[in-house]
């Protein structure tokens, strides 16, 4: 049963309940179905929520719309009785599905090779294991350890790492441009980024193992954030000065919200490059860097 059939059935039932004859009133109630010539429904996820205002007969719709531009929150959606309208409901579920997809899908295997990153993998062997065993997403087996040591060498100043984390979409959308900006920025400060590791099934704590294995002074990891309903493409950068297994989380500096609607990938990259320089100068990260 397609949506249109469903809709007309519901309408029929509602009208029968209301004691009206179906055929008569239905014509007035039915809205023209949104259907393009190709026979496709409109993709509701393409609507910018900040510009979607659904309240009927608002007292001051313009003012509400101006406020809406400032937040991605789902406000001003109108209602049907005590509930959301169908459109809002469907959009919520669509966004939720996108977030889940992003967690459960993989960054393609070619991704690392295509961009010249060296691929490695944590102890996790599957997405399920990755999601249920965070501890295994922080460590590498011996074979991967050897690859990491060989790639980064001993005591590099900077180790650049990309990890899939909880959002493959975030990495595909932002990692490459952000990294290029980091590398370009480092060059401007007279530093060299070196080779880049790509870690599959990666948790932030993998930085610590990489620190132990290589003695890197700063490990900078770009990793996909747990997706939310606003965007599934948000990426974070976690920077740690002299990371080692057991280092407190408070010693990490994080830049979150890197996506096209937040801090753009390139500008975040430039900011990260400067942060790396500051960390090397001050020999600190996290809250030690604040004071």
């Amino acid at each position: 049963m397609n949506e249109q059939e469903l809709r007309s059935m519901v309408e029929r039932m509602v009208l029968e309940l209301a004691g009206q004859e179906p055929g008569k009133a239905a014509a007035a109630v039915t809205q023209a179905p949104v259907e393009s010539s190709s026979g496709c429904l409109e993709d509701i996820t393409q609507t910018d929520l900040r510009r979607q205002y659904l309240v009927e007969q608002p007292r001051n719709g313009g003012a509400f719309q101006a406020l809406k531009l400032k937040t991605p929150a789902r406000l001003g959606l109108g209602r049907a009785g005590a509930r959301y309208r169908t459109l809002s409901m469907l959009r919520m579920r669509a966004d939720h599905a996108a977030a889940q997809d992003s967690v459960f899908s993989h960054v393609p295997d070619e991704f690392a090779v295509q961009h010249g990153f060296t691929p490695v993998q944590t102890l996790c062997q599957s997405k399920d294991e990755y999601l249920t065993r965070p501890d295994r997403g922080r460590r590498f087996d011996e074979q991967n350890q050897a690859v990491i040591k060989k790639t980064l060498g001993q005591n590099p100043k900077i180790a650049l790492v990309v990890g899939d984390g909880l959002s493959s979409a975030a990495i595909e959308a932002n990692a490459v441009d952000c990294l290029k900006a980091v590398q370009g920025g480092l060059k401007a400060y007279g530093l060299e980024g070196g080779p880049v590791l790509y870690v599959k099934y990666c948790r932030v704590g993998a930085s610590d193992h990489i620190g132990d294995l290589t003695g890197a002074e700063v490990v900078c990891m770009l990793v996909g954030e747990r997706p939310g309903l606003v965007t599934a493409e948000s990426m974070s950068a976690y920077l740690t000065y002299q990371p080692h297994i057991g280092i407190p989380e408070s010693k990490r500096t994080v830049i979150s919200n890197i996506h096209k609607g937040g801090t753009t990938a390139v500008e975040a990259g430039a900011h990260i490059a400067e942060l790396i320089k500051t960390m090397l100068d001050k020999k600190a990260s996290g809250i030690d860097l604040k004071g």
Binding site: G62, T263, A268, A270
Partner: protein, 470 residues
């Protein structure tokens, strides 16, 4: 964070000279886990000077020493030293700006008032500062409406139209309280040439007049204001009093607000119509009783006679974006004219960009060679890095003549990308370099850039809009 800047505003107007000192509080509004976003969170006026009559040596010359003495005296009274002042603006407004020595007075004062205090004049900026000082921009933003603000001073009325907090247009009419001056007995001592130009019958110097005699003339001026607000049909009065070289497109507005000395006379007129020896009191009363202005909502601003000086002191300074790039710059940089590319030119390849920049650089090439300027770009909202590299190559190549002339390449981008662009430019342009963002400007604007604040991450900027065309 709570870093604070002490800001001065000095307004030398047709009739009065004033000074205020205000405190601007900076705050990082981003969470600790994202890229910083520093903004001015509070603007409070700490000291308001007395309102002095502007000292003039003659009708065409400002008494610079007299103005200097007023400023010195007010600093003394405020308890602040000029060395404490971080930023601010000195503005010459109204008819005074057309005096012979306005420029010299400005530059003399801005040196006197602190390191990064910018000097400026021009009716567009005056309109903007007065409206912001009175809070008309804020009102229109918060009430989601359109406000036409009139700052009615001695020589001119400055108009600023704000829609939903955004400036739409500015304008200037030769309507003011001091266009006719009188002595205590009601004998006319000065008549502005404006009346002759406007074809408006005015008394002659030496004539003794009564309010009744002046009423038709004052009514004509009020009608010009009403037409400017779209509240009276026709354009005749408006055109007659429009300041030469300016334009104004009247539209009917739902809200008006008034500031300036005449606004005070609207609300609390002194008992004596000759209290100030001019027609300000009569003009204020006439506007207050205008039935056209009563048809619409009137917003009472926070400031009246001090609106412009508060605007200059509290609202002239803004902040750049919080991710910027600079190297070997001797701050402050003052009076940088803006070279802006068209949107189409900006989209070009590196070669096209550099060619477009070089072409326009010639505009700033006078007998003395190139002058220091700032290149303004719009920037894409979410560029990829290869595009940034391309833009950097184009800009570096385009600005090379500037570098060779011993000047500093300054690039001001509207979109948030100054740091990445700056870093990409850095290897291409050795030596001093400044790249900032969060500032939207146009050809004809001037930019002042102060010493970095908030741990070096942000720059105070003053954009001096001389020609307004949005």
């Amino acid at each position: 964070m709570g870093e604070q800047l002490l800001s001065v505003g000095i307004d030398i107007g047709t009739s009065t000279t004033q000074l205020i000192l205000s405190r601007l509080t900076l705050e990082n509004r981003a969470t600790p886990f994202t890229v910083p976003r520093v903004s001015i969170s509070r603007r409070e006026v700490l000291y308001r000077s007395a309102i002095h009559m502007t000292p003039l040596l003659s009708d065409t010359v400002i008494d610079a020493q007299g103005v200097g003495a007023i400023v010195a005296e007010e600093y003394d009274k405020s308890g602040f030293d000029k060395s404490q002042v971080d930023t601010g603006a000195v503005i010459i407004t109204g008819e005074t700006a057309r005096k012979e020595n306005a420029r010299e007075v400005l530059s003399a004062l801005s040196q006197f008032a602190g390191d990064f205090v910018v000097a400026t004049a021009g009716p567009d900026l005056e309109s903007i500062l007065a409206a912001r000082g009175a809070g008309a921009d804020q009102y229109s933003r918060e009430h989601h409406t359109t406000v036409l603000h009139f700052d009615i001073g001695g020589g001119t009325s400055n108009l600023a139209l704000y829609r939903n907090g955004e400036l739409v247009s500015t304008g200037c009419l030769d309507v003011g309280g001091r266009l006719i001056k009188l002595d205590g007995a009601g004998q006319v001592t000065y008549v502005s040439p404006v009346f002759a130009r406007a074809g408006c019958a005015a008394p002659a110097v030496g004539e003794t007049v009564t309010p009744e005699r002046l009423a038709p003339m004052i009514q004509t001026m009020v009608e010009a204001l009403e037409q400017a607000a779209g509240l009276r049909p026709g354009q005749d009065r408006l055109k007659a009093f429009l300041t030469q070289g300016t334009r104004w497109r009247a539209e009917t507005v739902p809200v008006v607000s008034f500031s300036g000395g005449v606004a005070d006379c609207m609300r609390h007129p002194p008992e004596q119509w000759l209290a100030y020896g001019d027609i300000g009191v009569l003009l204020g009363k006439a506007i207050a009783s205008s039935s056209a202005f009563r048809q619409v909502k009137q917003f009472q601003g926070a400031e009246t006679i001090r609106a412009t000086v508060v605007g200059a002191g509290s609202h002239a300074t803004d902040l750049s974006g919080s991710t910027i790039f600079y190297r070997e710059i001797a701050f402050p940089l003052k009076n940088l004219p803006i070279l802006k590319l068209s949107a189409q030119e900006e989209e070009g390849t590196a070669e096209e960009l550099s060619r477009a920049i070089r072409d326009k650089l010639n505009w700033y090439n006078d007998e003395g060679g190139l002058t220091q300027l700032a290149l303004a770009l719009r920037g894409d909202s979410n560029p990829n890095y290869d595009r940034i590299r391309q833009v950097a190559c184009g800009v570096a190549e385009g600005l090379r003549p500037l570098r060779e002339a011993g000047l500093v390449p300054v690039v001001a981008v509207e979109a948030d990308q100054a740091k990445v662009l700056g870093q990409a430019l850095a290897p291409l342009l050795p030596g001093p370099l400044l790249c900032l963002d969060g500032v939207g400007m146009d050809n004809g604007d001037y930019l002042d850039i102060g010493t970095p604040v908030a741990g070096g991450s942000v720059l105070p900027v003053v954009i001096k809009t001389l020609a307004f065309h949005k």
